[in-house]
């Protein structure tokens, strides 16, 4: 059998064994206990490239992609428009087949792109420094909690209800390491009440973690929160959506010590949840505790400004068990997608994406609450482009009823919290044009109005 990725011919192998001075390949392996070398793997036969394409095309066709339906699913994964130039430039071999830029003289391309990513994250968040990237939003929040523990020497972390439940779960798992104790406030509701949060702070609290917009879309007025947190000797960690920062104030301007989050919505495919790209930014004072790689400026032997990885003494390959974090490979290429995406959008484009999404969400919300039995779960909370609609019948039933109409209505909240059966989290973006909005409104109308007499499914086929 020949393989397209194995260049050696029998003649090559014979000549090489001869140069090494061994009679056969087995001679090179005979120091490995024989019993370990009798292996028969139960794997598919080798496939020609055309067969690989056919098999994967069929597997892909057995999924229903968001391009084949009107999708209102958000909840931490951005259904965002990706300009064609992003993938075509970021997917140049020189970017995706290089590795971590250990040798600056032959990796200025990767290094400058990392420097630009770090700079853009600082511009959006209002912070002093950002690292090259984290795995995703969830691990960025977990690492922020561990960092706060290191910086303050305190063992507890206060997680607001606005934080994505999977982010909190990951932070709990990471917390098993240093025995971090997590207090959540208030359980399962998105409302962030500054007073309630302040009251929950203790002398053991290393950090308060708040998400804006919250996982249920709300944008609370957090004026005074930072002052209260700092007064209690803790750090304020803000989980932000970089697209929302096109219209929302930079957390660095209202007292955040650490701003982290998920940047997948900037030019990266949803790809079933990964690879995405986490970002992490902090104040000048905490740079030495910031995990992950960092790129900085320097000069070469001829005095030419250039870039290089720096402050590596924080990292695992130097500090080993004293390292701030164990992260080595990160999400470099996905950070590049986000960087090129932001460069194309510019300040005005980013603002327009956030504004268009918000305006469409508010317009949709108004039309949906006009439906019988439908209301906003948090009518008094401001929101940006995601909101929770409370329905007269279970949200999962509604979601399933709309699938055949080509509508992904949103996330039934009992996915996270079993008791919230009648709540549907709806996200609206620049991808949802008038046709999408009409499809959701008419779909919901059919299902909700029908619930009077027939079961929803019957109504559909009437």
């Amino acid at each position: 059998m020949t393989y397209a990725y194995l260049p050696h011919t029998p003649a090559d192998r014979a000549a090489m064994l001869d140069t090494i001075g061994v009679p056969s390949m087995d001679a090179l392996l005979d120091h490995i206990p024989k019993a370990l070398r009798e292996v028969r793997l139960d794997l598919p036969r080798p496939h020609a490239e055309a067969e690989i394409q056919q098999r994967l095309a069929r597997l892909a066709a057995r999924n229903v992609s968001t391009s084949q339906q009107a999708s209102f699913l958000g909840a931490g994964v951005g259904h965002r428009y990706r300009p064609a130039a992003v993938d075509q430039v970021a997917s140049r071999s020189e970017f995706y087949t290089a590795y971590t830029p250990y040798q600056p003289e032959v990796s200025q391309g990767t290094l400058q792109a990392i420097f630009e990513f770090q700079s853009m994250i600082c511009e959006l968040t209002g912070m002093d420094v950002a690292n090259a990237s984290m795995y995703d939003g969830s691990t960025a929040v977990a690492e922020a909690a561990l960092m706060a523990v290191r910086v303050t020497g305190r063992p507890r972390v206060l997680v607001c209800g606005s934080v994505h439940p999977e982010y909190e779960a990951v932070t709990r798992t990471y917390g098993q390491g240093p025995g971090l104790r997590i207090d959540s406030l208030p359980a399962r509701s998105d409302l962030t009440d500054v007073a309630a949060a302040t009251a929950a702070l203790t002398p053991d609290t290393a950090a308060l973690i708040v998400q804006v917009p919250g996982v249920l879309g709300t944008v609370a007025d957090l004026s005074g929160l930072a002052e209260a947190v700092h007064a209690a000797g803790a750090l304020l960690v803000v989980v932000a959506d970089p697209v929302a920062l096109g219209v929302l104030e930079a957390p660095g301007r209202w007292g955040a010590d650490l701003v982290v989050g998920e940047a997948q919505g900037l030019g990266n495919a949803m790809s079933l949840g990964g690879p995405h790209v986490g970002f992490m930014s902090c104040r000048e004072a905490h740079i030495r505790q910031l995990p992950g790689r960092i790129c900085g400026m320097s000069v070469d032997a001829e005095g030419r400004p250039c870039f290089t990885l720096t402050l590596q003494t924080r990292e695992q390959h130097i500090r080993r068990e004293k390292a701030a974090s164990n992260i080595c490979t990160n999400q470099a290429l996905n950070a590049l997608f986000a960087t090129i995406h932001l460069a194309l959008l510019g300040p005005e484009g980013l603002r327009e994406v956030a504004t268009t999404s918000a305006l469409r969400a508010h317009h949709l919300a108004e039309r949906l609450i006009a439906l019988p039995g439908c209301r906003l779960a948090n009518p008094d909370s401001a929101f940006l482009n995601e909101f929770v609609l409370t329905l007269p019948i279970p949200a999962a039933t509604v979601r399933d009823a709309l699938l055949p109409m080509g509508v992904l209505a949103g996330l039934p909240l009992d996915t996270w919290w079993p008791e919230r059966t009648h709540d549907l989290l709806i996200a609206v973006t620049e991808m949802n044009g008038a046709e999408d909005l009409e499809a959701l409104v008419s779909g919901l109308t059919a299902v909700v109005t029908a619930q009077g007499g027939q079961r929803p499914q019957e109504a559909l086929h009437a």
Partner: protein, 486 residues
Amino acid sequence: MPELLEPVILGQGAPGRRGVVIPEAAVPAPPLSAVLPAAMLRREAPALPQQSELEIVRHYLRLSQLNHAIDKGFYPLGSCTMKYNPKVNEWAARLDGLANIHPYQPESQLQGALEIMYDLQQWLCAITGLERCSLQPAAGAHGELTGILMIKAYHQHRGDARRTRVLVPDSAHGTNPATAAVAGFEVVTVASDSRGLVDLADLKTKLDDRVAALMLTNPNTLGLFEEDILEIQEAVHAAGGLLYYDGANFNAILGTVRPGDMGFDVVHLNLHKTFSTPHGGGGPGSGPVVVGKALEPFLPVPIVARDASGNYRLDADRPLTIGRVKAFFGNFGMHVRAYAYILAHGADGLAQVSRDAVLNANYLKAQLKEPFEMPHAQPCMHEFVMSGSRQKAKGCNTLLLGKRLIDYGIHPPTIYFPLIVPEAMMIEPTETESKETLDRFVSAMRSIAREVEETPAVVQQAPHTTPIKRVDEVLAARKPVLRWRA
């Protein structure tokens, strides 16, 4: 004073220029200030670039051309397995049905994706000789954390609170001790012996009821197979500890030897090393974790399962799980590429991959023995570590040998790792390099060795052919400039 090769993109352009035009909202448009708290409204626009699509494309194309890369030339970076990234894998990951799917879509709409994850879980179990697999970890280090936290949960579940130590060989990669520390363990280093292998005697002195696990890379980071592995696993298990396998060097034994057969309880694999998913300038990777029976209950949730009727679903109903280590289901894009890579080889192909990787490493080692110091004479596996100590004595240390190699169009090997070899130079050719490329590498290294003797200045001032010359790394750390400012 010379300028940056390419100006930083921030601050470039002029207000009004747009790289992409966004559709109108096409709905009634009250000002956002009417719907959002005033305090939370952004006052100052972020200083992002304002350029046309052409200027942005030119900027990043010119940056890309400053990079060395596998698709441009030989990239023998030890311990990173810089093998070829097949192009059909990139085509597959961009299919609409695999790229544009949301993790919260109902399972009925994700059967194709879940089948890919399920098959990959099964194949990685077969390849490692272990029981169950989680694809959730995002890279090797993340897989290590997952494995070590499972070991922690295993001992806690058995009420065995004394096991607060993790043993790590002195040659281990930095992520191993860092992981153990982040997981709350005390790290105890095990010495290597003259063979460059785990010193059995030293290991046995450190094995007691405080040891939760031994973390091993096999072959180790010197590229040498731990021949006493069966004795090691017996000793560790006898002392009540578990055995962790760092899969970074798995390319040496892929399809030929299985960690499960060696007695390992938990393995992490690096899909971006052994299974060819691209290194991407530093990521993304994927670090699936495969476990034996003992640790199966503690795997992160969810795992992809298959019911009797052949439907695939996400199983989160695992009471003893350590919980989530990452939102959603792992780096699915890397699962697709690894899936295609395994399909291209089958069992025989994967065995040939590791054999050729070992053949290529030994072919280089045999021919570089003479001009360069080889700390260990025995055959290596997929990589070998040699020392630049002889050249350093003549004023050209390993860093400079690497810089000079750049002028020959070849990316320097990994340098100064593992720490136990002075002036270490770790060379991993991988199986995708042709004999001609290996011969060119040998002649380049020999030529450099001659230059060290005859014209050391050429080596000391290298690289000469790159758009920027030697970079002052001390300055970067002393006066850090870590972002562009308006």
